[in-house]
């Protein structure tokens, strides 16, 4: 019976339909599983940009320990990372480098803007060499305000990002 339905003319339509059916049937649990894997292995890039990096360092210290939430300490290689925590001020000299780092990372990638400087320029709103926020350079997922944010705030930002990833649609069938 299936043989009668499928003719060479409508074969690809049928295959497409099959994909839809599969997506409907197991796409949701599969996407959930992929997202579940992603949220517990967020690897931040090692890119320090200003003084907020002190509190970023404190967040991975024994007292705060972000590794509990699946965010390991800043890591060297870009190709294995999926999170940028922009730790403060982005100057005009640093902005092209930040974009370069972002472009080199594989998908999926997420950005946390940490500190008032990364959000609006903060204390340096009138400086001649500081960008008023990083939104113009890279897209931001979570804003963590503070100058500098306490490690707890940073951890809360990370958890917010995890919530966000949980609700994102993972691309299961490419």
């Amino acid at each position: 019976m299936l043989k009668d339905l499928v003719t060479p003319e409508n074969a690809n339509v049928f295959v497409g339909k099959l994909g839809d059916i599969l997506e409907k049937a197991i796409g949701k649990p599969l996407g959930y599983a992929i997202n579940w894997g992603r949220i517990w292995s967020l690897w931040p890039v090692h890119i320090e940009t200003a003084c907020c990096s002190v509190e970023f360092g404190a967040a991975s210290s024994p007292r705060y320990d972000v590794e509990r939430f699946g965010i390991i300490e800043a890591f060297g290689s870009l190709r294995q990372c999926d999170l940028i925590v922009v730790q403060g001020t982005i100057t005009r000299k640093m902005a092209p480098r930040l974009r370069l780092v972002y472009d080199q990372m594989p998908e999926p990638k997420y950005v946390i803007a940490m500190g008032a400087c990364a959000i609006t320029g903060g204390l340096y709103f009138d400086s001649y060499n500081v960008l008023p926020g990083i939104d113009g350079v890279i897209p931001v997922d979570v804003y963590v305000p503070g100058c500098p944010p306490r490690p707890e705030t940073l951890i809360q930002g990370c958890i917010l990002l995890q919530e966000k990833i949980k609700r994102m649609k993972a691309r299961t069938f490419v």
Binding site: T91, R92, K93, D126, S127, Y128, N129
Partner: protein
């Protein structure tokens, strides 16, 4: 007060002849610091002028032609051995840019708390082309090695070109900076 400066005070002030300076009348100047400035005055006469003598601080000003000789004298005869900071100050009203070298000494214990501020002035241009205009000073890098990065900073921040400096490149500003040197007074922050 350290005992070092106290002991050498008498030795210094007795052997140097007292040069009449306008500051002398108003307040009692610290004697050791006065001795340092007197030695320089004695050597260079009216080529140098004393800008201030305070406790632990001596200020000497000179013209751009003499700054190299004065610096050499300060190093060789007075035992100062390193420069702590080189700061430019812009005076648009005088059409001049002042460059101040704060010179200290590690090797001479009696000078440990002293800072000698050697200042000199360069001509200021209204429309600066850093490196290619009249805003030039001789470098002190061959006298005090430690001024190397400091002078590079003054070059980019004020546009003062140091003649003879081996490495007048940009240091802190972005590579594509095409505006006025930012620390001059006519560079204003937008919206302020």
């Amino acid at each position: 007060m350290s005992s070092d400066s106290e002991t050498s005070v008498d030795a210094e002030s007795e052997e140097t002849p007292v040069v009449k300076k306008p500051e002398e009348k108003q307040v009692e100047l610290p004697a050791f610091e006065k001795g340092i400035s007197d030695k320089i005055i004695e050597k260079f006469g009216d080529k140098v002028y004393v800008t201030f003598v305070k406790e632990d601080r001596v200020g000497i000003g000179t013209s751009r032609e003499n700054v190299h000789d004065v610096a050499e004298f300060i190093r060789d005869a007075l035992n100062y051995d390193h420069v702590e900071s080189v700061s430019g100050v812009d005076y648009p009203q005088d059409k001049e840019i002042e460059v101040v070298y704060h010179i200290g000494s590690y090797s001479d214990p009696s000078l440990a708390r002293q800072i000698l501020a050697l200042s000199t002035r360069a001509q200021r241009e209204e429309n600066p082309i850093p490196g290619n205009d009249a805003t030039k000073l001789p470098t002190l890098r061959d006298v005090f090695y430690s001024v190397e990065f400091h002078e590079r900073e003054v070059f980019e921040m004020f546009g003062v070109y140091f003649e003879g400096h081996p490495d007048n490149r940009r240091l802190l500003l972005p590579e594509d900076w095409a505006d006025l040197p930012p620390l001059r007074k006519d560079f204003t922050i937008k919206g302020r």
